[in-house]
Amino acid sequence: MTEYLIRRVLQSVLVIFLITVLTFLLIHAAPGGPTQVMLSPGLSPEIFKQQAKNLGLDQPIPVQYVRWIGDMVQGDLGYTFKNHLAVSGLLWPRIGNTFILMGAAWLVSLLIAIPWGIYNSTKVYGLSDQTASFISYLGFALPTFWFGILLQQWFSLKLNWFPLSDMYSRGHEGDIGDLFMHLVLPVTVLSLGFLASYMKYARASMLEVLDQDYIRTARAKGVKERKVVFHHALRNALIPIITILGLDLPILVAGAALTENVFNWPGMGRWFVEMASAREYSVLMAVTIVTAVMVVIGNLLADILYAVVDPRVKLGKQGGGTA
C-alpha cells in the first residue's frame, strides 16, 4: 500500500510540474509578451524595456520559471497588472462561490441520479428507464448556456418566480433564503448535465454486478430480490460510482464557467473569462494551475479511495486491476 501510495503521489507531482511548465510556456509564447498588454502601444521602446526589467522579464526563461514556481509554492500567485492586487486574495472567495453553486448542483443530481439509476437497472427498458435515457441524450446534447437562457426567459422574465442573475439581491448579502432563490435556476442547468452521466453510470454499474454469478447464487438460494439488490449488488456497484465521483470532484471548481456567465454568478469561471478578455496573465496562470492541481489531487484521492473500498484491487501492479 505505501509503495503504491508513494508511486501515485510522485506521478501526481510530475503531472503537476508538467502542467505548470505547459502553462508558463503558453503565456510566454504570447505575441509581444506580457508587457505588450500592460502598456499602451504608443510608448517608447525604452519604457517597454524598463517595465520588462521591473517584472524580471529580461531574465532567461528557466530563471523566470523557477522564480515564479517558487512564489507559487509559497502561496504567492502573483499580482494583477491592473491595480496591482494580489491574485490569491481575489481567487479564494471566487472559488468559494463556485463551490457553493457546484456543490448544490452535485448534491441534487446525486440524490436523483443514483437511486433512479439503481431503480432502472432492476427494470431495464421500462418506462422509467426510457425516460432516463431520453434525459441522458438531452443532457449530453443540450448547450448548457442555451438551457440557462431559456430558463431565465421563462422563470424569471415571464413568470417572475426566480431572480434573473447574480448570487444575492442587492442589500440581501449573506441571506440564505435569498441565496437559495438565486441558486434554483443555475443548479437546474448544472444538474441536468451531471444527471445524464451519473444515471448512466449507476445503471451500467448495477447491471454489470447483477449479471454476476454470486447474484445468481443469492437468488437461487432464495434471498429476497430487495435484499439481493440493496445488500448484495449495491455494495459492489457503488465502487465504480465512487471512483467516478472522485474523478469529478475537481469539476466542483472548474466546471461551471458557462453557467456562471449566463447567470452572472461571481465564481471562478466567470472571473476567468473576464480576466481572459483583459489579458490578466497572472490571474489566468494562477486559476489554470490551481484547478489543475485540484484535478490531480481529485484523481489521486479517487484512486486511493478505490483501493481502500475495494479489497480486490491488487496494489503495486500496473494501475491495480480488479480480480
Binding site: 503531472v15 508538467l18 504570447a30 446534447a141 448547450p143 442555451w146 464557467a257 458557462l258 478578455s277
Partner: protein
C-alpha cells in the same frame, strides 16, 4: 440492352471492390471476379444493414445531411448577407419585409445568420474530429506498439492533458493567440485526442503479440507498415464511433467559446455568438434565443445518434439483445408457472 446490363453490373461491382481495399476481408480475394448475388456481405455492408434498421440513427443521418446541404447551399437559399447591418429594418418580426425569421437588433437577417453559422459549426466539428483522430492515432499507436519509454511519455502527456481544465485551457489559448478559427480548431483538437490515443493503445497492446503480427515482422515489414497496415485496421471502427461523438462535442465547445466572446468574432457569425446577442436583447425579442440553440441541439443530437447507431451496429452482442430480452421474458413466465 445487354450492354446496358453489363455496364450496370460493372458499375455496381466496382464500388464494393473499392471499399474492400480499405478494410480487411479475409474471405475475399480481390483478384477473383465476384458475382454480386452470391457475394457474402462485407463488414461495411453488415454495418450499414444494422445501421439502417436503427430508426434513431437514420433520423440522425437525415438531420445531419439536411444541415450539411443547407450549409453548403447557404448563399443560394437566402439573398441576405448575414453581416449586412441595416438599422432601418432592425427587430423585424418573423415574415416582415421578406425576412422569414425576422431581423435582429442591427437589422441582420436571422435566417441567413443561422444558415451561415451552420457552415462554421460543421467545419469546426469535422475538422476537430479529424485532427484529433490523427493526433490520437499516432500517439496511441507509438505508445501501444513500441511500449517502454515511448509509452510512459505518451501516457504522462495524456495524464497532463486530462488534468488541465479543458475549457480554461481553450479560453487561455484563444485569449493569448487571438480568436481565429484555425487556433480554435487547433486547441479543440489538442484537448480532445486523448480518448482516441487510449483506445488505439489498448487495441495495440492486445494485438501486438498476435501471430500474424509476428509473421509480418518475420517477413520484414517495417514497424510503421505493421502499425498502419495490420494493426490500425482493427481499431478503425471504434475510432470512427469515437470521432463521430467528438464532432458533437466540438460543435458544443465552439458554440460555448463563441458565446463567451472568445470564439467566432463579429462580422462572421456562429450559433454561440447569436445566443450571446440574444441574451443581451432578451427583453426586446425573446424568440431570438430559440433558433440558434435549437440548431445546436439538433445537430449535436443527430451526430450523437449516428455515433451510437454505429456503435450499436458494431456490437456483435446487439443482435442478441432482443432475443435476450425475450429469453428473460420467457424465463419469467417459466418461473411463474413453476411456482
Amino acid at each position: 440492352m445487354s450492354a446496358d446490363k453489363s455496364q450496370l453490373h460493372t458499375s455496381h461491382a466496382t464500388e464494393p471492390l473499392g471499399l474492400s481495399n480499405t478494410i480487411p476481408m479475409p474471405s475475399l480475394d480481390p483478384q477473383t471476379p465476384i458475382t454480386d448475388s452470391k457475394r457474402p456481405p462485407g463488414p461495411w455492408q453488415i454495418l450499414w444493414k444494422k445501421f439502417s434498421h436503427n430508426p434513431y440513427a437514420m433520423i440522425g443521418l437525415v438531420v445531419l445531411l439536411f444541415f450539411v446541404v443547407v450549409g453548403l447551399l447557404a448563399p443560394f437559399i437566402t439573398k441576405y448577407d448575414p453581416a449586412a447591418i441595416d438599422l432601418m429594418f432592425a427587430n423585424l418580426q418573423p415574415g416582415a419585409g421578406g425576412h422569414l425569421l425576422g431581423t435582429d437588433e442591427l437589422g441582420r437577417d436571422i435566417l441567413s445568420r443561422l444558415l451561415f453559422s451552420t457552415r462554421i459549426s460543421l467545419l469546426i466539428g469535422f475538422s476537430v474530429a479529424l485532427s484529433s483522430v490523427a493526433i490520437g492515432t499516432v500517439i496511441g499507436a507509438v505508445s501501444g506498439y513500441f511500449g517502454g519509454w515511448a509509452d510512459t511519455i505518451s501516457m504522462r502527456i495524456v495524464d497532463v492533458m486530462n488534468s488541465v481544465p479543458t475549457l480554461f485551457l481553450n479560453i487561455l489559448v484563444l485569449a493569448i493567440f487571438g480568436s481565429q478559427i484555425k487556433y480554435m480548431i487547433l486547441i479543440l483538437a489538442l484537448t480532445s485526442w486523448m480518448s482516441i490515443a487510449r483506445l488505439v493503445r489498448g487495441t495495440f497492446l492486445q494485438l501486438r503479440e498476435m501471430q500474424y503480427v509476428e509473421a509480418a515482422r518475420a517477413i520484414g515489414v517495417s514497424s510503421w507498415g505493421i502499425i498502419f497496415r495490420h494493426l490500425l485496421r482493427n481499431a478503425s471502427f471504434p475510432i470512427i464511433v469515437n470521432a463521430t461523438l467528438m464532432v458533437g462535442g466540438a460543435i458544443l465547445s465552439e458554440s460555448a467559446l463563441s458565446y463567451l466572446g472568445l470564439g467566432i468574432q463579429a462580422p462572421a457569425t456562429s450559433w454561440g455568438l447569436m445566443l450571446s446577442n440574444a441574451q443581451e436583447f432578451m427583453l426586446v425579442d425573446p424568440k431570438q434565443a430559440l433558433y440558434p440553440g435549437l440548431c445546436i441541439l439538433l445537430v449535436v443530437l443527430a451526430v450523437n445518434f449516428i455515433g451510437d447507431g454505429i456503435r450499436d451496429a458494431l456490437d456483435p452482442r446487439q443482435q442478441a439483445t432482443k432475443s435476450r430480452r425475450r429469453l428473460d421474458q420467457w424465463r419469467k413466465n417459466y418461473s411463474k408457472s413453476e411456482n
